[in-house]
Point group: C2
Chain length 199, copies 2
């Protein structure tokens, strides 16, 4: 395998959505800084202002909200080619409603709000890309919300492992429970009950 520049994956990602000339590619590469995040380290923290938007090159992270009682609720897991950020905080300067933490060693490309704004001015067609990305993200969350409202924890679990069959190898069970919105004990019991049906 050819030794690649860390930015290549991001450029590929953009090129699959819009055409870019050499100069625009140059500007994008200059704007995004590679950053290595050790396992369990945080990319940004709930309560602070999120100054980082990150594109995952390799590794896994979770984005989650901690409620008043200290319980974590995982909004999503981020893998290769996913974005990590608190949109409200990054774009509008509000306090972050969530944190992001590496579940294993993580390589990301990061940008801060000022650099992203400059990049939008220099490469306006990125406005369109990010509009479309945000729309996609919104529709995914809408579907997740509807599933949460209409289905049981079992429905959510079955749908999760159908969409991400390898998820149970990638993240521990108590994190999956947190994503599903239930306790680890409940997930354990649910799986036991599911297996018991296969006779």
């Amino acid at each position: 395998m050819i030794l690649e520049n860390v930015h290549d994956e991001l450029i590929r990602y953009f090129l699959s959505r819009v055409s870019l000339d050499e100069y625009e590619i140059h500007l994008i590469k200059k704007a995004y800084e590679p950053k290595f995040v050790k396992k369990k380290a945080f990319i940004f923290n709930q309560g602070e202002i999120c100054k980082t938007e990150a594109f995952v090159i390799d590794g896994t992270a979770k984005v989650f909200y901690s409620d008043e009682r200290g319980n974590e609720h995982i909004l999503y897991f981020a893998f290769k080619d996913w974005w990590i950020g608190d949109i409200a905080s990054f774009n509008f300067g509000e306090q972050a409603n969530m944190s992001a933490q590496a579940l294993e060693d993580l390589l990301v490309l990061t940008i801060n709000p000022e650099r992203k704004e400059e990049l939008f001015i220099k490469v306006p067609k990125l406005e369109r890309i990010f509009r479309i990305i945000t729309q996609r993200t919104l529709t995914v969350l809408q579907k997740r919300f509807f599933l949460t409202m209409s289905g049981s924890a079992k429905d959510r679990y079955l749908q999760l492992i159908e969409r991400y069959p390898k998820i149970e190898q990638l993240v521990p069970q108590y994190q999956i429970a947190s994503y599903l919105g239930i306790l680890p004990e409940s997930l354990s019991r649910m799986k036991k009950q599911l297996y018991a049906q296969h006779f």
Copy 2:
């Protein structure tokens, strides 16, 4: 009060977010068609392709998902200055995951995907506006999702009537229950219990 053009409210809405010249305003006015929707009529239907994105001039609507058992789950109520649409269906041509229905006589400005695409080409700065609108919508849904995960139905109810004190006059109780993700019976009991505490 001066008799206004139906488009003025939309132009005001855009102007509060970006500057537009006379010609751009003209193009926008031409792209959005006024439409009157009678109480209980639908703007678009779950399962079909949503060809309409609507901006509410006056009236109230609900946007909701119907699950397999026929239960409705209200994603949001739309009032003056809100957008109504199924983003996934309108933008990506998928089957709509939700329906929109007028709760009372409704006046909207509508656009279809083709016209919106043309408008984006002629007025590229709208890309930016709609990116920001979508981001705002996403952050609102994220907060709602976190509240649903971490809080009880009572938490959700109290937050709803705090944010929209007039909501109980505008929509019937069983619709509020649907928004909260509970049954009308449960909401009735919950309110009874809340009032009982005021002694």
